[in-house]
Amino acid sequence: DQQVKQNSPSLSVQEGRISILNCDYTNSMFDYFLWYKKYPAEGPTFLISISSIKDKNEDGRFTVFLNKSAKHLSLHIVPSQPGDSAVYFCAARRDKLVFGAGTILRVKS
């Protein structure tokens, strides 16, 4: 039972453009949502989060949007940089973290 889904296995974006990574969830009891970024041979690192009582959180080039009615969140990266190329995991929390399968982002220079 996949409670958190990232339906796009990969995304390719030109440097300077916007990257939009999407995540859908099924459990309305999740109270916190997080994005993690993972480089090869490294563990996932926390990127940005949002509480279920908010609909937007911004940190520099990264913005997360939450649409609770649609059970959907997205991560926007503007402008995208080659160093953003990584695997991005969406995670949702109630009493534990539930992860999506990840989206590979490639930013082309």
């Binding site: 296995p9 993690y36 041979a41 563990g43 690192t45 534990k96 990840g102």
Partner: protein, 112 residues
């Protein structure tokens, strides 16, 4: 630098031969987690410790055990590895349950 360290980074074992994966942390966090991640799948929580209190996920096979002898170290023991246990094993820590989790680089386990 405070961090989460996993050893070894790559582990090869034979079918049925017990194996132990190690995780250590310098963050002095209360909670330590073990996740299993198979290729192109989401990391899946196996169990976690809050201090010395062990919490097993309901669907974690009995073949998987864990030990936390002190705050800094946590071990994952796989008693009789099967081919289906080949995966990346990630250790993570957090200060409290609802705090950010810090991950180690993972141990990739191959079962021959």
């Amino acid at each position: 630098d405070a961090m989460v360290i996993q050893n070894p980074r790559y582990q090869v074992t034979q079918f049925g031969k017990p194996v132990t994966l190690s995780c250590s942390q310098t963050l002095n966090h209360n909670v330590m987690y073990w996740y299993q991640q198979k290729s192109s799948q989401a990391p899946k929580l196996l169990f976690h410790y809050y201090d010395k209190d062990f919490n097993n996920e309901a669907d974690t096979p009995d073949n998987f055990q864990s030990r936390r002898p002190n705050t800094s170290f946590c071990f994952l023991d796989i008693r009789s590895p099967g081919l289906g246990d080949a995966a990346m094993y990630l250790c993570a820590t957090s200060r409290e349950y609802h705090n950010e989790q810090f991950f180690g680089p993972g141990t990739r386990l191959t079962v021959l």
